[in-house]
């Protein structure tokens, strides 16, 4: 039974023709629209570059004050605030200040982009089962497909640089915020929605006054995860030309510099922990009303 020993594949020749056709088609698309796409993303690039320069040009004591201030506003915890400032001092002392600022810039812009796109998509998804059925598998693919695979078309279209890096980070990091916005809105108590209906609330009044406020803790969990996932893309993004803490890590891998790799890796971890703790405690404070006694 020869035919069961080898899978009846398409054959080398038609297969390679098949692949070539796809590649050619995409290259054609890229030639035709690449520039238009670049122009489209230009404002984003300008903003990213401006923000990065701003962070690097700002005197370090001011950055430390801002970091401490934001940590305090978010968490209202002395421990987290002091910890954050100390971590930044250590990072600066060990010579990683500029790379950290570059990483902060791309993470902030990526997170912002994910929020601006992800929350409306999540809201849309929550309002229609059809939309949910279509978008969910797309999100699954975005989260599970190896990042290197979608780097290929992104780089083919936009080349190497900050914008393709930013897009790669966003593709990977946007699913949690979309998912949790959708979930949060769908989980809102039916009885409360019925009450809003009974008092004549319009769909908009229900969304803004009831559904989104009650979904906020979940939306915040989504933002938190999005930030974490964006940070975990820092090294991969640096392969296609994004500056920041990922670059020395890459250098450390190819040259076997253990200390360099560790230091920069730990700096990424420190950023992750700070973002995580601050956004989590903020999310918890948002639902103080659930505890019963937080009367602030």
């Amino acid at each position: 039974m020869e035919m069961f020993e080898e899978f009846p594949a398409l054959g080398r020749r038609p297969l390679s023709e098949f692949k070539q056709t796809i590649d050619e088609a995409f290259k054609g698309f890229s030639r035709a629209y690449g520039e238009a796409l670049e122009n489209f993303f230009d404002p984003l690039l300008k903003f990213l570059v401006w923000f990065e320069k701003l962070l690097i040009a700002t005197p370090w004591p001011i950055i430390l004050i801002i970091v401490g201030g934001l940590a305090w506003l978010g968490s209202r915890s002395v421990k987290i605030t002091v910890g954050s400032v100390l971590a930044f001092i250590a990072i600066g002392y060990l010579g990683m200040w500029e790379d950290t600022m570059a990483t902060l810039a791309i993470i902030s812009v990526a997170t912002l982009l994910c929020i601006v796109l992800g929350i409306p998509i999540g809201i849309f998804m929550s309002r229609s089962d059809r939309a949910q059925a279509i978008i969910t598998p797309v999100l699954d693919v975005m989260q599970t497909i190896p990042s290197f695979v979608y780097l290929i078309p992104v780089v083919m279209l936009l080349g190497i640089g900050k914008v393709p890096g930013l897009l790669a980070v966003c593709i990977y990091a946007i699913p949690p915020i979309v998912r949790l916005t959708n979930l949060g809105i769908r989980l809102v108590d039916k009885d409360i929605l019925e009450a809003a209906d009974a008092f004549g609330a319009s769909p908009k009044q229900k969304m803004l006054g009831v559904q989104i406020p009650l979904a906020l803790p979940n939306i915040f969990a989504g933002i938190n995860q999005t930030i974490m996932m964006a940070l975990s893309m820092v090294v991969i993004a640096s392969m296609i030309g994004v500056k920041g803490l990922g670059v020395p890590v890459l250098r450390a891998i190819s040259n076997q510099y253990l200390a360099l790799g560790l230091m920069n890796g730990l700096a990424i971890v420190a950023l992750a922990i700070i973002f995580d703790r601050v956004s989590q405690t903020y999310g918890k404070r948002l639902q103080a009303y659930r505890k019963g006694h937080g009367n602030d």
Partner: protein, 337 residues
């Protein structure tokens, strides 16, 4: 009898994939269990007609699953009927577009829920003002009216609390204040007090009755509790498996139960505290002995009856005229059903 504020006409509600297809079967008398077995549809409401008079408390009673919640949600059209008509002030609610319907819900009706349905992220005064803010009433005025109703339901001092910080009874006071704050003509109350323990429940009934004395709303009150129905209801309608099997005032329900189902409902109540003399009055031409008001319950009438000459007493109507006579023997027979 005053005019009907809300009219329900031949209402049917069938839950399932294709209600219109099985509607003719139901109209031809298919029973709820058969409909479920043979066609996989649930019969929610079966041919219910009810005229709800203005400024009175209409109680709808029935066991769990009898369709009470389904029925009351048709009045403000939170549920679309399969067939039938709903009229409020003679206007067909089912013909309204979304905007008109919202207007009715904002200004004409208000609802109080078994599980309260408060907004957990808003403070008590914001919850009470919810209906007003939906209407677009400005904040200062809404706040002022909210404070008035918070005081009326006895919650002064709790304005800044969140619902989660209050007990069940207090939360339902918020629910009641929220419903009253928009000054609706019709109050829909779906087992509003059922989640509360008996003492609190009695308190809430008292608050409702006090407010009703002064406000004269048209109230539709759902309950599965006969004592509550008898205490609150000017009129009582009884549902079973989605169909209405009796309606009338408390005296009629207790004295002339339409069938065993209702007789079963009424057998545990304290008849001495419910039955009034007017339900027993036997018409006579004239009567010279002592008289009692027709709305005296038997418990209070037994002693005067025993002391009266011939152990017979005259029963007067509201306007003071003679409605008939009742003897001690008749009273005792009525007590034993």
């Amino acid at each position: 009898m005053t005019d009907a504020k809300v009219q329900i006409k031949n209402l049917y509600k069938i839950f399932g994939k294709n209600p219109q297809k099985v509607l003719p079967l139901v109209k031809n008398g298919m029973s709820k269990p058969d409909l479920l077995d043979q066609h996989g549809h649930v019969l929610g409401i079966e041919n219910v007609s009810l005229d709800i008079p203005e400024k009175q408390i209409q109680v709808v009673m029935g066991l769990s699953g009898s369709g009470k919640s389904t029925l009351i949600r048709h009045i403000n059209r939170l549920i679309e009927p399969t067939d039938g008509e709903i009229l409020i002030d003679g206007e067909n609610v089912l013909k309204m577009d979304e905007k008109q319907l919202r207007q009715v819900r904002r200004t004409k009706t208000a609802m109080v829920f078994q599980k309260f349905g408060l907004l957990p992220h808003r403070r008590v005064h914001e919850n009470v003002a919810y209906g007003l803010s939906i209407q677009g009433v400005d904040d200062a005025k809404a706040r002022e009216r909210a404070n008035y109703w918070i005081e009326r339901v006895g919650l002064s001092g709790y304005e800044e609390h969140y619902p989660g910080q209050l007990s069940g009874g207090m939360q339902q006071r918020v629910g009641l204040a929220r419903a009253l704050a928009t000054d609706p003509e019709i109050l829909l109350m779906d087992e509003a007090f059922s989640a509360l323990d008996p003492l609190i429940r009695f308190d809430m009934q008292s608050i409702l009755l006090q407010l009703q004395d002064e406000l004269n709303k048209t109230i539709i009150f759902i309950t599965h509790d006969l004592d509550e129905a008898l205490r609150l209801g000017d009129n009582i309608a009884i549902l079973r498996d989605g169909a209405m099997i009796q309606q009338g005032d408390a005296q009629q329900i207790v004295m002339q139960p339409a069938d065993d189902y209702i007789a079963d409902f009424t057998k545990d109540i304290n008849r001495a505290k419910v039955i009034e003399l007017r339900a027993l009055a036997r018409p006579v031409e004239s009567f010279a002995g002592p008289t009692l008001d027709g709305e005296t319950v038997l418990e209070d009438a037994l002693k005067p009856l025993a002391q009266a000459p011939d152990q017979t007493i005259g029963v007067t109507k509201r306007d003071g005229s003679l409605g008939g006579v009742v003897s001690l023997t008749e009273a005792i027979e009525a007590l034993h059903g």
